[in-house]
Amino acid sequence: MASLGQFCLLAGFVVAAYAAAISVAGARRGSRRLIESGIGALYLTAALMTVASGVIIYAFVAQDFSIKYVQHTSDSVQPLFYKITSYWGGLDGSILFWVFLLSIFGATAVWINRERHRELIPYVVAVISVVEMFFLFLMIIHRNPFSTFLTDAPTEGRGLSPLLQNPYMVIHPPSLYTGFVGMTIPYAFGMAALITGHLDDSWLRAVRRWTMIGWLFLTFGLTLGMIWAYEELGWGGFWAWDPVENAGLLPWFTSTAFLHSVLVQERRSMLRVWNVALVIVTFFLTIFGTFMTRSGVVQSVHSFGEDRALAMMFTIFMIATLVFSFSLVVYRLPLLRSRHELDSWVSREAAFLANNWILLFAALFVLFATMFPTLSEAVTGERLTVGPPFFNRWMAPIGLALLFLTGIAPLMAWRKSTVANLREQFTWPVVTGVVTGVVLAAMGVRVWVSGLCFVLCAFVTATIVQEFVRGARVRQEGTGTDLLTAIVGLVGRSKRRYGGYIVHVGIVLAFLGFAGGGFKQEEQLLLKPGQQGTVGRFTVRLDSVQVTDDGQKQMITGHLTVFDGGKDTGHMYPAKWFFRRHEEEPTTEVAIRRGASEDLYIVMPAFDLKDQSASLHIVINPLVDWIWIGFGVMALGTGIALLPERVVSFAAAKLPAGAVPSAPIVLLIVLLLSGVVHAQHTESGQAVPIVSRSPLEREMQRSIICMCGTCGRQLLSECQCSRAVDMRAELSRLVNDDHKTREQIVQYYLAKYGSQEPLASPIDTGFNRLAWAVPYVLGAGGLVGVGLVAVRWSRRSGSNHESEPVQPTTLDPADRDIEARLDDELSDLD
């Protein structure tokens, strides 16, 4: 099985290289056949990756523990569902999964656009293939998911951590990946447009939809991550500005910016350089996010696998991408000149521009703060860290500014808003906002950030409602139907515009949830049976601490009675579960009572069975559920904006008023269902914890392998045979008792075994450095080779078939006038 997988990877690499070379050649020679061949090769890569995925899933299901990756991330007692999803549970498999998704996405995008954007396709194929080649290269050379144990394969796997065996964790990574991968498609089209010089707005049209899909999945993935953290980790919050979380957030900011600025380019032909740059930066950030998560560059309390070689390869790829992309931009600058100047700062394009700047600033800020520990260590030698309060202090105003723009931008006119239409558009929303503010002040809301956020939410909601009502009125007059039908018709007619508004409603709801965080109350209590404690308006009484056992685990459950303002409102049961063979790692079962106005969130982190006492962490999270609901609404809006024209006209013709498109509903149901499903835990056989006393000891355990000769060169920190136990004891003695340095220990092992065999990686000097360089040289050489072949093939026909130089579409002044007028006329039709 493993060899079949290996073969797929190798073949995939070769075919992708062929696709890249032949497409470029075909484009330059203008040969239809070569281009077709390149497209075929791209499809073939997708097929090969599908086979490879099939192989690895089969290996998981068939429990083929001779494959290291399978042994690493699954075990025989796992339910089938988690066996399959172990596919993306670890580093190696997740890279394979990434390439698989990319190849599928790429093939689909090319298939859909092969006729419409014929001139771009060959370069799109080439760019996608090169990205695939990079990840395939990573796997083949460094992180092969199909590598096997050379000798005695273990008979049992190590299993996924129980924390990760949870429905959210199953959907969350693939969703985030799909978002990341989705951003490669716009990048490929952008690059193709730059290379060919077809920089009119047609490439944007091909790309918009893909960016929306990517954006939707990215948002979905981030939301699932938040829900998981909230329900599973039991610390009362959902976002901690952890580097891993931030990695997913960065491309979200830039892709959101792109989705807005693309409108400006379509309508006004401005911001052309900016758009290309955003597409590049978004793609870069997806790669950077992957790099940050996998390479261990940014340290945090989370255990990342540190992997220098991987970091190196990623760095090279990222630098190459940046240099290549931005040189192309510079080269094409003359074609990218904008056709209009900003007419006025009181216009929709100016508001969009401001929104873009803020989003980009947010991305830069998060990037800066995430990298700050690494940066400060590099610059001053002191490791300085910044915590969530620092992020919050900056992100709160940024978020509020964005929310404000969400309200005003859609109401501004293109080109220039006059005082009259400002007054017409903003009277009601401003009144609504002010009234809300006054009411809140009267009610005694004193957290000013949250208060301001509520006011802005009211303001934005009023602008959106106003848009819907006005649009529907106009339509009602035109068609003579009732209001509801008019609204449905309205949404159907300009899906993107009204879909966008619905997304904005979702944003408002999410912001309500964020603002609720300002009123969060928490308390840590130690209670004995019969005692009670009060948090906010809730009083919690501990009745008893009970022990039950269901054969798989022992459950310690706190029985609580909750009083809401003195009234008995039932029981809650926070618990702690101790799985068999896994007692060292109890899981925390949070008890959450959900409500529209607030969640009561109770954790029982510690207990004492002797005197029946329990420590309780009680949190009141106001409005938090609105974040998840907000996401549902966003998904609905994006779905509407994404619907193809045909579906809408069909639905409008066949279905009665009020029928809502089904795709987003499905997404919504998925989300709600996942909210209902309770976190599920299964037992997994995990290694006995190997405690190391000092960082050096840990480091050495990871750089020396077990020398028993039967467990297939496993690291000392991972091997479980008796020889490894002895070796660890020996190492511990060297480090802790003899106080040897790293070099001395390495020398000790070299002397003891007479070769470099016990070292996990060759010593980084002299000849050995060459050994390190070989993969890079090979990789770079191969790339250069592919390029040379492409150039050579395309040159052969250069003499008889000169490709036509591309004419930038230019307009004479009269046309420009007409275009400007057209803009105004069309501004109401979107």
């Binding site: 969350h172 990574p173 901690a240 255990s303």
Partner: protein, 142 residues
Amino acid sequence: MSAKVIRIGLTACVLVLAFGGLLWSTLRDGTEYYKHVDEVMTRPDAWYGRKLQLHGYVVPASILRRPNTLDYRFQVQSKDKIVSAAYTGIVPDTFKDDAEVVLKGTLSPSGFEVEPNGVMAKCPSKYEAKPGSVASAKPPGA
């Protein structure tokens, strides 16, 4: 044209200066030094009163808890340097003898004062980093 360039340049300058200043001022009280116990305890008086994230290993059998309260006293070591710490609140499951911990708080002559929710313990078992997810037991509390 040149007037426009000057205008844009000036605006950019003002913005950059303003943001730089803000960043600087917030960074000054937002940052914490990330140090190992031995780095700090070689010259403890230099660190008194400063915000620290202290990295070390819990000294075996040093965790004491006052009965019927959430007050903890324990010792943390690295490379033979030891500091005693005090904390009130709930500790993570993984907080036990020999656990690798990061403590947030301030150092004083009487020991290390851990701020609320300031105890983070690394898991002894090995997790694979999951894409875009939090892969350990307790992320820092917000």
